[in-house]
């Protein structure tokens, strides 16, 4: 295992931001730390980077304890939410920074900078001022800067959260491709599950300072460990499994679990209609209970039939 966290606890005074977290990241693996804001995921990331000291527990790299190894000797790259580019340096100057710190000679440095700018899709930007770049471009430069010295681990702290939605979705796909091409070992912190599931080989769900579930994205998505995790992953209604024809205990329903379809087994009345960017979301009353559903355009007050889509159903536990 490349990175190994052994029961890490980070305390600020009396409150523990991170409690007894153990997690490992294999060589070349991308792990996402997913959780609501304030769950301690950024603190954990900063602890790994060496910017915070754990109150107890150990951060290890290839079995070597990193306690006492200062930030600048850990060879971990870090990408902040809002880039944090050096405003007094050009795009190339930013990307070259880590190489200069490692005393890479000029010729090789220039070559590496150009190849990285190409990798992040910013050919020809080398001499631009970073203050002239858009948010998305800045974030690409930040990524190139972190990757340039070939860090043994890349830490990304909400790398796409500061961008608007369309750009975020585009960049998430780019970033996933990029990290795989560079065969990077990476830990991504995010509160956005789309981002986490797009990027990661494994997802770790964090809640109140603890990791509550770790697993491949599909597994975490379809069987969250508890109701709270299920809610965080988009389930808004919890019913017995029999409601959707499953024999297991409780299941959580996402809006996509119920779809308006004339041949569906359930019947309800449309209470509200909300237009989302790529679908219509309905609030439907079935047997006196309110459910969310998706569907073609209907009017409020219409009586509709609903089909069950098991992709939108999550088994709890």
């Amino acid at each position: 295992m490349a990175l190994e966290l052994d029961s890490i606890t980070v305390r600020y005074g009396q409150t523990a931001a991170v409690s007894d977290v153990s997690l490992s990241v294999a060589d070349g693996e991308i792990v996402a730390l997913l959780g609501p804001s304030g769950c301690g995921k950024s603190t954990l990331l900063r602890t790994i980077a060496g910017l915070e000291k754990p109150s107890s527990g150990a951060v290890r790299w290839d079995s070597a304890d990193l306690d006492g190894v200062p930030v600048h000797r850990r060879e971990f790259g870090l990408v902040f939410q809002d880039g944090q580019l050096f405003p007094h340096r050009s795009v190339a100057g930013n990307v070259a920074f880590g190489l200069r710190m490692r005393a890479v000679d000029r010729e090789e440095r220039d070559k590496r900078v150009l190849s990285l700018l190409e990798l992040v899709g910013l050919e020809g930007y080398a001499d631009r001022r970073v203050t002239q770049l858009s948010g998305g471009e800045q974030q690409r430069v930040a990524l190139a800067r972190a990757l340039a010295p070939s860090p043994r681990l890349l830490l990304l702290d909400e790398p796409l959260s500061a961008l608007d939605r369309a750009l975020r979705e585009q960049l998430a796909v780019d970033l996933a491709r990029l990290l795989r091409e560079a065969a990077t070992t990476a830990l991504v912190v995010t509160h956005d599950h789309d981002e986490a599931f797009t990027l990661a080989d494994r997802v770790a769900i964090m809640s109140r300072g603890r990791i509550v579930q770790v697993g491949p994205p599909a597994e975490v998505w379809s069987s969250p460990v508890d109701v709270e995790t299920a809610k965080f992953l988009g389930c808004n209604k919890f019913v017995p499994g029999s409601f959707v024809g499953l024999d297991s205990g409780r299941v959580g329903l996402r809006a996509t679990a119920l779809r308006v379809d004339p041949s569906g087994p359930l019947e309800g009345i449309v209470l509200e209609r909300v237009h989302r960017r790529d679908h219509v979301r309905l609030l439907v009353e079935i047997d006196g209970e309110e459910y969310e559903a998706v569907g073609p355009m209907t009017e409020v007050g219409d009586r509709v039939r609903l089909e069950i889509d098991l992709d939108g159903v999550a088994r709890i536990g």
């Binding site: 052994d6 029961s7 305390r11 980077a49 910017l51 000291k53 754990p54 109150s55 107890s56 527990g57 150990a58 304890d65 306690d67 200062p70 930030v71 600048h72 000797r73 850990r74 060879e75 971990f76 790259g77 870090l78 902040f80 944090q84 050096f86 405003p87 007094h88 920074f97 880590g98 710190m101 490692r102 800067r145 972190a146 010295p149 830490l155």
Partner: protein, 540 residues
């Protein structure tokens, strides 16, 4: 193998004690070159007795009353005159704003002797009014800068909301804008009050022996009456008052820094409209008034009984009428330039180091930050005369009789300049995003390298500006220098004061010429600094 909580706590404490240890360096500097001489003077006075006598005498309390009264009046004038200028600098888009910015800054750095003399061209006999006006004259810049800095970042929409809710313009100003600016006004007023209460050169030149403040009285008692115990008593009194003002000012400053950290992006300046033009005119009137003594001084330096002439300037190559001076005016000028340079280097080293330590201390949450912060400001408020005299009685204890060292005057000047440099550099360094330093660290930069690669380039212009500013202040320093400069190596302000105290048309002509010269150098430096400054950062 888990690390224990105690180990982690030890780690945090060791980071803090590292900064605390670093804080000892500037504290040691202050202890050796400030606390020791001052305490020596005070104890000298206490030993001779008579302190109680001085403290119960009615005359002492009259002095205190006049000192505080004139300082309060000066502060009021400075605030009233500074607010319209702050508004124009922060909110208006006008042609020639750069000129106004520089013009406001000029008085603050003019040597006190020069200003005293400039006001004497209008009030030849001095008096209370010129003292108050001259003190205010210096400090309009402090108000305009400090308040303007916050004003530029105060959200215009709060005022718009008040107007939309039915408040008239003046009402919106009083109920929304003014309270938002209050921390900046409070902190500026505290600093101005401190400067005015301890101002020396101006009061000495314009008040003579008729209108005396604590500061000039300490000087007169030490130098002319040799009443050490009386001077010590007054020094103690002044020190107590200054400490009180500093503590109050510290509270205001913390509130202002909170206000600044909460501020939004800088509001766009726009062309004034409607009633705002009255404020603009008021600001222009203030600037015109600020330039009047400057122009008056230059005019006076060129006019003699026989009409326009450069006689005063030509006389600078001599030792004055009947050998008033031990050296020529030009020698004094050269000496001034060199001394101020040494002082600036010392102040820059101590000041920047202190600022870095202060930021480190604040981050790791050490209580010693407050101690260092206040200690750094103290020299501003203690009578420069006391410091100067203290040097004379203590510095012979240092190896190689320090009293004759050419470093004595620069050190005393550095003491006055250091607090200003700290105040200018600190906010800029603090504004550097911590995550920028962390980004550099994760890319492999050691702490020292981070400072060189991130802090230095980002704060470089401000550092240069602070250095230039410190240089100008050292050039004009009068209180301590007048005490310490040897007769064969005086600085220009000392020479000016000496020339003015002797009779003779040529002497006074020469003094005015020296003043004009000093002023031109000062203004030149200020214009250069203005080009270097990062907009609305720093306090002065």
């Amino acid at each position: 193998m888990g690390r224990t909580v105690a180990q982690a706590r030890a780690g945090l404490i060791s980071a803090r004690s590292g900064w605390s240890a670093a804080a000892l360096l500037p504290l040691a500097f202050l202890g050796l070159f400030f606390a020791w001489p001052v305490l020596a003077i005070v104890s000298l006075g206490l030993r001779e007795g008579g302190v109680v006598v001085a403290l119960v005498s009615g005359e002492t309390w009259e002095l205190v009353g006049f000192t505080l009264g004139q300082a309060a009046a000066s502060t009021l004038v400075a605030v009233v005159a500074g607010l319209p200028v702050a508004f124009v600098l922060a909110r208006c888009r006008l042609r020639g704003l750069g000129v106004i910015r520089a013009a406001v800054m000029v008085p603050f750095v003019l040597p006190t002797v020069v200003v005293g003399l400039a006001f004497r061209t209008f009030w030849p006999d001095g008096g209370v009014l010129p003292i108050v006006l001259a003190n205010a004259f210096f400090n309009v810049a402090v108000v305009a800068r400090t308040v303007g800095g916050l004003w530029a970042h105060t959200d215009r929409r709060a005022e718009d909301a008040a107007r939309a809710l039915g408040a008239s313009r003046p009402r919106a100003f009083l109920s929304v804008v003014l309270p938002a600016l209050a921390p900046a006004i409070g902190s500026a007023a505290a600093v101005v009050f401190l400067f005015c209460a301890t101002s020396f050169g101006v009061v000495l030149v314009l008040g003579g022996s008729r209108y005396r403040t604590l500061e000039t009285e300490i000087y007169l008692r030490t130098v002319e009456l040799f009443d050490l115990s009386g001077a010590a008593a007054l020094s103690l009194l002044q020190f107590t008052a200054v400490l009180a003002v500093l503590v109050l000012g510290g509270v205001a400053r913390r509130r202002r820094e909170t206000a600044l950290s909460l501020r939004g992006r800088e509001e766009l300046a726009r062309r004034p409209s409607g009633g705002e033009w009255y404020v603009v005119f008021a600001a222009f009137a203030v600037v015109a008034a600020l330039l009047t003594p400057v122009v008056g001084l230059i005019t006076r330096s060129l006019s003699t009984r026989d009409g326009w002439s450069f006689a005063g300037y030509a006389a600078l190559a001599t030792r004055g009428d009947r050998g008033t001076l031990a050296v020529t005016g030009l020698d004094a000028a050269v000496n001034s330039v060199r001394t101020a340079f040494d002082a600036t280097v010392v102040a820059l080293v101590v000041g920047v180091f202190s600022a870095v330590v202060l930021i480190g201390l604040r981050r790791s949450g050490g209580r010693i930050a407050e101690v260092l912060d206040t200690a750094l400001m103290l020299p501003l408020g203690v009578s420069a005369v006391t410091v100067g005299f203290g040097y004379l009685v203590t510095m012979d204890a240092l190896p190689g009789d320090f009293r004759t060292s050419p470093l004595l005057v620069p050190l005393a000047q550095a003491l006055v300049v250091t607090p200003l440099i700290v105040r200018m550099v600190l906010p800029v360094l603090r504004a550097v995003d911590e995550r920028l330093r962390q980004a550099a660290a994760t890319l492999g930069a050691s702490p020292l390298r981070v400072w060189r690669e991130v802090d230095l380039p980002l704060a470089g212009r401000s550092l240069a500006a602070a250095a230039g500013f410190g240089y100008v202040v050292a050039l004009g320093e009068f209180g301590a220098t007048s005490f310490l400069a040897r007769p064969d190596a005086p600085t220009l302000p000392v020479v000016i004061a000496r020339l003015m105290s002797r009779p003779g048309e040529l002497n006074s002509q020469m003094a005015y010429a020296a003043c004009a010269l000093l002023m031109v150098v000062t203004v030149g430096c200020v214009l250069l600094i203005e080009r270097l400054r990062v907009p609305s950062s720093g306090e002065f």
